[in-house]
Assembly symmetry: C2
Homo-oligomer: 465 residues x 2
């Protein structure tokens, strides 16, 4: 059992006073700023911290952690606030540690294809910085999240089918431990078998074991040639089977995204397109010009075998962008699909052989539950998102949505999948973590209790108690 933080108002006030004395304006108790820092694009009620501290260095973070540890005050690490499972909520109050000012790109090692960044650097900022090198940091969860935050939720996104997730793209972390000690979890060596994999322990720990302040991340070459293909299928199963065949064939897919008929309809309306309202794959290929050409051709043959009804492809940048428009505009298209609604994102991930079943059952469930909920999938990984367009003030509807999400999580778990492919557990999926991993969660609790005995690091996340 993890200790519930037993912070008194006096302790919190003492820490706030000390931080204000040492750091002046870097600490704020402004209500609007506090409220903003607990915002998240999820259906979870907002829980605001008592103060927000804007850190500018690892040393400052260590100082804040030590103070909070001494007074048992909760600390919530914050990057850009794009968490989808309320990872930045402050259910026990405390100090939100905003790392957005720690946005220095410290070194780029081109020959080693790695770089060292502070946790507040965002992925777009890094890629802009890398522009002249021919290298990229390809992990793309959609939002322009901070790299520290992406690590903390083990984020991935559209490019995971090719480049893996955050767990596959980090060589080492600098972490401020719950007692304020600064640790380095690894080196710049590409591989190591030196002891426990502390790097991976913090990736996905959602800030509950310490604060990531610096990251050594892998970079990848930008392929010399890129092509995209968009193809509509008669049903979800044939689209999924095309994905399975392409991966088994060994095609190096940069991205392979699925949109269901509802999502295509939404995109047609928003982006003024006339795509067939059918399950549609959006595929990106990368490599040499010759290799890309060959891959597109092979993919076309595979798609044809599975009854693909339309097939567009392009390699010039403008044409690629045009073909990819619908995928780009998903978020805005969803909002327009049901004016006044809010976008509640949830995701699951299943073995790819079960993906079609899971999608079809979910599709039926959405219809039966009378929800407006398009589906977009990173289908190369068996991962898909349901974007539930919700009138969040309507309690009856919210209860229906919650029941639907619960069924979705259980459906994925029953198929030997996971209740969260890339959004994390946060507050939203805690009970499903237990259903998914059973006794193993008890040992996660033991690790948490060993490293953070007073439960000051992002309490209330991942674990139900």
């Amino acid at each position: 059992m993890i200790a519930r933080p037993s912070t008194s108002i006096e302790q919190t006030e003492a820490v706030i006073a000390l931080l204000r004395e040492r750091y002046g304006d870097q600490l704020t108790c402004n209500a609007t700023i506090r409220r903003q820092h607990a915002n998240s694009t999820s259906w979870h009620p907002v829980e605001t911290p008592d103060a927000v501290f804007f850190a500018t260095s690892t040393e400052e973070v260590a100082d804040v952690v030590k103070l909070c540890a001494a007074h048992a005050v909760p600390l919530i690490p914050y990057g850009t606030g794009t968490s989808l499972e309320a990872g930045v909520n402050a259910p026990f109050g405390g100090i939100t540690l905003d790392l957005s000012r720690m946005n220095a790109i410290l070194t780029v090692n081109e020959d080693d294809m790695d770089c060292v960044v502070q946790a507040g650097v965002t992925r777009k900022q890094l890629n802009t910085h890398l522009r002249s090198t021919g290298l990229q940091f390809p992990i793309d969860p959609g939002a322009d999240a901070s790299i520290g935050g992406m690590a903390s939720t083990r984020a991935s996104g559209t490019s995971a089918v090719r480049y893996g997730t955050m767990k596959d793209n980090i060589l080492a972390l600098t972490v401020v431990m719950p007692d304020g000690t600064v640790c380095k979890t690894g080196t710049r060596a590409r591989k190591s078998s030196a002891g426990y994999d502390m790097t991976r322990l913090f990736i996905g720990a959602e800030g509950t074991l310490g604060v990531i302040t610096e990251l050594t991340v892998k970079l990848h070459g930008i392929p010399p040639a890129i092509a995209v293909a968009v193809c509509a299928f008669p049903d979800l199963a044939s689209a999924c089977n095309t994905v399975i065949a392409s991966i088994r064939y060994g095609l190096t897919l940069g991205r392979i995204e699925l949109m269901d008929d509802v999502q295509i309809r939404a995109c047609n309306a928003y982006s003024k397109l006339d795509m067939q309202e059918k399950p549609t794959l959006f595929v990106e290929f990368g490599g040499t010009e010759l290799a890309v050409k060959e891959q597109v051709e092979t993919f076309r043959q595979l798609a044809d075998e599975f009854g693909c009804e339309t097939f567009d492809n392009a390699s010039a940048p403008d044409d690629r962008s045009r073909l990819w428009t619908a995928r780009h505009d998903v978020y805005w298209a969803c909002l327009q699909l049901r004016p006044g609604s809010k976008f509640l994102a949830t995701d699951v991930c299943v073995p790819i052989s079960r993906l079609a079943d899971c999608l079809v059952e979910t599709h039926t469930d959405i219809a039966e539950t009378k929800l407006v909920a398009p589906i977009v999938g990173h289908v190369g990984d068996g991962n898909f998102h349901v974007s539930v367009m919700a009138m969040t003030e309507d309690a009856e509807e919210m209860a229906r949505i919650k029941a639907f999400i619960n069924r979705l999580n259980r459906r994925a778990i029953a198929m030997d999948g996971t209740c969260t492919g890339e959004h994390g557990i946060g507050e939203g999926k805690r009970e499903f973590l237990e259903e998914e991993l059973g006794a193993t969660v008890g040992y996660m609790r033991q690790l948490k209790a060993a490293l953070d005995p007073n439960n000051i690091m992002n309490p209330g996340k991942i674990f139900t108690h």
Copy 2:
């Protein structure tokens, strides 16, 4: 501080008696068998267990662990005994848990490109089993190690440049925890952000946190076409620069191995070859026929730019084998290089930009220390092995070798690398783990103490105390 196991002879004898009663011949105290189970191809003195238990199921492992836990008797998990850092030694006695009879391949999911195996399955056994599927388990550390053992040391080998290490190729583990509870660490989903990465925690833990009994591993397609190239360079730096350029260019190298002049000389003598005694790269390319052809051509151009002196390549299987002969015969060639000597393997891994420096300094050090010690490198990862051919009975020579290995470890660490790329810490590199990761090792100890408070799981490994 980790508890030293405080096992009395009576406790060990009690466990042995109980196991014999329950399992009969599955337990043995035969001196030869005990001695064999503590063997390892390293310079570390053999430390034998009090008994060896041959497990046949996860339930049996759980039963044995519970008994050992109740009596505080050490347990040493054992796969095939190919550890290079004395991971199977029994410095505090106890029971060696031989998992080689747990060699069932439980399920192969072709569409998902994964399979579930018991821990005692060896990599060659699995690949033979997969022959008809077009799929492979590509991780290749050289020895025909058990997959459980490979996971426990975070093994990799020649193919890591393409497929990553064991950490990148496992979806889920079944683990018997130090209290005897059976845990599942993940699902068959390709990715997940559900809580702490318990799978990665056990990968590389060398059996100190629990016993891995089953693994869900990723499989990969066998490329339709394969080609190899062998090219000699005037010096180590030009070979390394060719590797860097090839990776930055985005060539999909299946393997890229370096042998130094000493190793080539040894192979020439052993395998009756007449290769130039120069630093030489052995490269494998895989993909479609067209893509492979293009890649070989690009690689040839890059190698030429860096002054490559000879370039042979082949794509027919027999020709490929012939070209690859020297790399295959490294072990035997080394033994013949110094008749009567034993093969002491050590490895380090550095950022690839530092590889040439590290190799050159090590080369000089070998000469100055008057050792016979060829070098073979998995250079795409910045990882290389020094095979020290040692007269292990000669105390003065062994002292020189030990000092050399210490310098090698420190050299790698000073270059922001690791003291062990793929062999693990075992008993051999414990003090260097501290030098490499400093305060972080203290938190590894906390995790160990939390999960295994009596330190019964493979005690004396990874940590100095």
